[in-house]
């Protein structure tokens, strides 16, 4: 029999409904597995006691036939989400010991549907990073080829690793420039960044407000669809959340892609693109073509400016969003002989190198005299990038690209660490989507020659996650990717 922790959410829900096992048994299995796999450093806080007490409630509900949509499903929560009564730090030293008195809307939706919190997951500090190495709690180890000590990707590295390693059934992530999709690709799991505005940002510590979006990371497409059903929805507490009905995303799974137009952007196949990745991209194209989809060449001409644009806008917003961490009301405080010195001491000690770098860049691009040349110009380019997609979607229904230009690389990799730009280049296929506010999903397509997972990305029209899920399910079925046991 398959281990309980290897089951998908759908399989687990089936087992619970059919009384094959109880929620308490499920939770106990996960807790055991979490203990065994602590060397991955996926969790920064485990909450087994509350998980067990919630499990008892879930069992009661099953007993009474009053189970909710995710009744008894063990979830890992990225540490960027504020969870009421549970320490939430964004994996930053500056939020030492911070216990929110409120619940983020997304986690509230999950927990009120029966989801059970196993703990808080590791991430890059304030979601700034692509390898989980900027976390105050140290890097997450990729569960694939653990002896090679590879990164899990980032910023939702803990989320992707925990799902891949079967130490949660699924996890929440957030994606500002690829933070759900890239670690999903590195860890061989499925994750979707929904359309900007689909999920409420209330209670999620802000990195770049106009780009941040929460989404699920799960073992397969169906689990992602189910989780997004629960996570999404209008929230009056977030003025940027969309007041639109949320369709049942699981309904489109298994539907044919016959006649669907799949856009293939020329700009995503630059000279020197990793050959294996290029080949897997072709495999994805073939799968869809064989299933009756029409392949269309499209152009996203401003793609080459996306990374530069992103690394102006995101730090600009971050420099302002992170101003509230001043040592006055919560988290770390390092005293000083004057208010200004207390701020300086607290922020000097509380923030890591990458966060400081982005605060500096963001402050610079917003400064008088530089604003027009950087921030304002970036906003204009952002519009052009969005317009590229709008034009492209006149020719196609969904776009297929690789998720990341590489597979997982070693922790402490010299090339990545000697120049931050090398690390940022990881986001080359993912950032445009955030700038345009579109939904995009990453799913595993296969393993590299040395056995590491690689992912493909499906990008949809605004608020058309359904087509993304529909195409993803077709690729998933044919790719027959084998998850870690």
């Amino acid at each position: 029999m398959t281990e309980i922790t290897q089951l998908t959410i759908h399989e687990t829900l089936d087992g619970l409904k059919n009384k094959k096992f109880s929620t308490v048994e499920v939770i106990k299995e996960y807790i055991k597995e979490m203990e065994v796999k602590r060397s991955l450093n996926a969790y920064v806080l485990e909450t087994p006691e509350t998980a067990l007490s919630q499990a008892k409630e879930s069992d009661n509900r099953y007993f009474q036939g009053k189970e909710r949509r995710l009744e008894g499903i063990p979830l890992g929560i990225k540490d960027l989400f504020c969870t009421k009564g549970i320490r939430s730090t964004a994996c930053s030293h500056i939020l030492d010991g911070f216990i929110p008195q409120y619940e983020s809307s997304v986690t509230a939706n999950l927990f009120s549907s029966g989801g059970i919190c196993l703990g808080k997951l590791n991430m890059d500090e304030f979601a700034m990073g692509g390898s989980n190495e900027t976390s105050y709690y140290g890097p997450v180890v990729n569960p694939w080829q653990q002896n090679r000590n590879l990164v899990a990707g980032g910023s939702s590295g803990g989320s992707a690793a925990a799902v891949a390693a079967n130490i949660c059934a699924a996890a929440t992530g957030t994606d500002t420039g690829g933070s759900i999709r890239q670690p999903s690709s590195f860890c061989g799991v499925t994750g979707i960044k929904p359309t900007y505005g689909r999920c409420s940002r209330y209670g999620i510590m802000a990195f770049a407000s106009s780009l941040d979006q929460a989404g699920p990371i799960a073992k397969d497409v169906r689990d992602c669809a189910l989780l997004l059903n629960v996570m999404a929805g209008y929230d009056a507490k977030d003025s940027t959340s969309a007041n639109l009905p949320v369709p049942d995303f699981t309904k489109v799974l298994g539907q044919s892609v016959k006649g669907l137009k799949i856009g293939i952007p020329a700009q995503y196949r630059p000279d020197g693109l990793n050959e294996e990745i290029s080949a897997y991209w072709d495999k994805g194209i073939e799968i869809l073509r064989s299933a009756g989809a029409e392949i269309v060449d499209i152009s996203l001409p401003h793609t080459q400016y996306a990374l530069a644009t992103y690394y102006i806008i995101a730090p600009a917003e971050a420099s302002s969003n992170l101003a509230r961490y001043d040592g006055v009301r919560y988290g770390l405080r390092v005293d000083g002989d004057h208010l200004d010195n207390m701020y300086i001491n607290t922020r000097t000690e509380g923030f890591g190198k990458e966060v400081k770098r982005r605060i500096m860049i963001g402050t610079y691009v917003l400064s008088a005299g530089y604003y027009d040349a950087y921030y304002l110009k970036a906003q204009k380019v952002r519009r052009l990038i969005r317009d590229d997609f709008i034009k492209a979607f006149k020719q196609c229904d969904v776009i297929l690209t690789p998720t990341s230009p590489t597979a997982a690389f070693p922790i402490g990799d010299k090339h990545m660490n000697e120049n931050p730009i090398n690390m940022w280049l990881n986001d080359i296929f993912t950032v445009s989507v955030n700038l345009a506010g579109l939904p995009a999903l990453s799913l595993p397509i296969g393993l590299s020659a040395d056995g590491l997972p690689l992912g493909l990305q499906l990008i949809g029209k605004s608020f058309d996650e359904e087509t993304v899920f529909r195409a993803a399910a077709v690729i998933e079925k044919e790719a027959k990717f084998e998850r870690l046991k």
């Binding site: 504020c82 929110p100 209330y202 407000s209 302002s320 101003a323 509230r324 400064s367």
Partner: protein
């Protein structure tokens, strides 16, 4: 006002920026209460405290109030406006930035007409008005080493009104502030209390040689908290500029602090104002779009404003411009007057209101809302005089009783038997009686001491206990004394 320097004549060029706290039950971006006088840090939501992950949501009532105010300033309402962040580190701003409007304010250009002492009016142009959140209150005088922060004020809605540099004298600025306060109170969008900080004024002052049109370097004085101080600050700062220029110096653009005790301004340390606020569009709030219908709906609900009311009182009720201006400055007074004047002699009501009535309020230290005399009863009192039921003299006595008991004047006159005697035969009898008893005085009168006429009238009135109609008394004495 022209400042006569040692060598030159100078003209003041001054503009104002006024922060007005919006009257609303909850804060502009959170659901916390705005109630004044709560214990420190009681009216604070997670949003106001800048907790991680918290997001602002716009209070639509504050938008309503801002549009209403914009219409009251005869200003253009911008159907598209945007919020921006103004970034700075200080303990009074928990998020490290203030949400305000920068490039696209909700209200554009407008105009306010001010009334000057010489009876003329002047139009002061409004540059713009935007909405934003207030900062927390820093308290520095509780502990010698620590400052305390009260977040109750953090996030209260503000309207910032910016004028063009149209003021040429401190008096004009004073008249503007009074007029603005009056308009805001009529609109009920800001209570206008400068001493409580719900209306705060920043002043920009420069001077130029009289007759030129140049704009010279200006200095700013922030948070001056009374009309008197604003006027003082403008005058003294302008004089300082004149002295600097005439002694060959240059004025530096800077923020200066007004010291209410000395009346002078002094430079603040550079560090305190050398900010780069790094404004950028607030990504947590979408642009604010309002429709023509919405604006029209508010315009239709707009109350009559002080200038319109004043003109109506002059044109329709025959009040003098001065009386009308005094009555209309304060909304409650104007409403009281209108109620009292309806159906009665408006000019006489105005005289009573501005004379005995105001004196009574002042003596008893009451506001008009607390007046024991209702508007209706003041109107009735004027009627009693007009209808010759009581004399003006008796009316003063009745007014005194009204101010003690709050009773209806008709009832007082009835109960105390103060009704004027207008019956000719009764009055004639009293006149005859007085003449008969004072034949010596009649003799003296006939011999040319005509000044005794008034004495006879007084005696008759006295005999009638003041109730005899003075005109009839006059008529009979005239007849009888020949």
């Amino acid at each position: 006002m022209i400042i006569q320097g040692k060598t030159n004549k100078w003209e003041i060029v001054c503009g104002l920026e006024i922060h007005c706290q919006i009257i609303s039950k909850s804060k502009i971006f959170s659901t916390a209460s705005t109630k004044f006088g709560a214990d420190a840090n009681q009216n604070v939501s997670f949003v106001d405290a800048g907790m991680p992950g918290m997001l602002p949501t716009l209070n639509q009532y504050c938008v309503y109030q801002a549009v209403k105010t914009g219409l009251g300033l005869c200003a253009k309402i911008n159907k598209y406006s945007e919020f921006s962040r103004k970034n700075y580190f200080y303990a009074d701003m928990p998020t490290g930035y203030q949400i305000t409007q920068f490039q696209y304010p909700i209200v554009g250009e407008g105009v306010v007409t001010i009334d000057l002492e010489d009876g003329t009016t002047k139009e002061i142009r409004i540059e713009r008005m935007h909405i934003e959140q207030d900062a927390a209150k820093s308290i520095h005088d509780i502990d010698p080493h620590k400052s305390f922060i009260d977040l109750n004020r953090a996030g209260v809605g503000l309207m910032e009104i910016v004028t063009k540099p149209d003021f040429r004298s401190p008096e004009e600025a004073g008249a503007f502030l009074r007029k603005l306060r009056s308009i805001l109170r009529y609109l009920e969008t800001c209570d206008g209390n400068m001493d409580e900080g719900s209306l705060r004024c920043d002043i920009n002052v420069s001077v130029r040689p009289y007759g030129t049109k140049e704009l010279r370097t200006r200095c700013e004085m922030k948070n001056v908290n009374s009309v008197k101080f604003v006027m003082q600050a403008i005058e003294n700062e302008a004089k300082r500029h004149v002295e600097v220029y005439e002694s060959g110096g240059t004025v530096e653009q800077e923020t200066r602090q007004f010291d209410a005790v000395s009346g002078q301004t002094k430079a603040m340390r550079k560090k305190e104002f050398a900010h780069d606020y790094r404004y950028f569009p607030e990504p947590d709030l979408p642009p604010l779009i309002i429709s023509d219908e919405y604006i029209k709906q508010i315009a239709d609900e707009l109350p009559e404003l002080p200038d319109a009311k004043k003109n109506r009182f002059v044109n329709e009720l025959g009040l003098t411009k001065y009386d009308a201006a005094v009555i209309c400055e304060n909304k409650e007074v104007a409403y009281f007057f209108e109620k009292a004047a309806t159906g009665h002699d408006a000019k006489k009501v105005a005289n009573w209101l501005m004379g005995d009535f105001f004196a009574m309020l002042k003596r008893k230290n009451l506001t008009i809302e607390q007046s024991p005399i209702t508007a209706e009863n003041l109107g009735r009192l004027v009627d009693l005089i007009e209808q010759n039921i009581i004399s003006g003299k008796i009316a003063k006595d009745v007014f005194e009783i009204m101010s003690e008991t709050g009773e209806n004047p008709e009832k007082i006159v009835e109960e105390k038997g103060l009704k004027q005697v207008t019956d000719s035969s009764t009055i004639e009898a009293i006149v005859d009686q007085v003449i008969a008893a004072n034949m010596d005085k009649v003799e003296a009168y006939k011999n040319g001491k005509t000044g005794l006429f008034g004495w006879f009238v007084g005696q008759v009135l006295k005999e009638s206990k003041g109730k005899a109609n003075p005109q009839i008394v006059n008529k009979f004495i005239q007849e009888k004394l020949g």
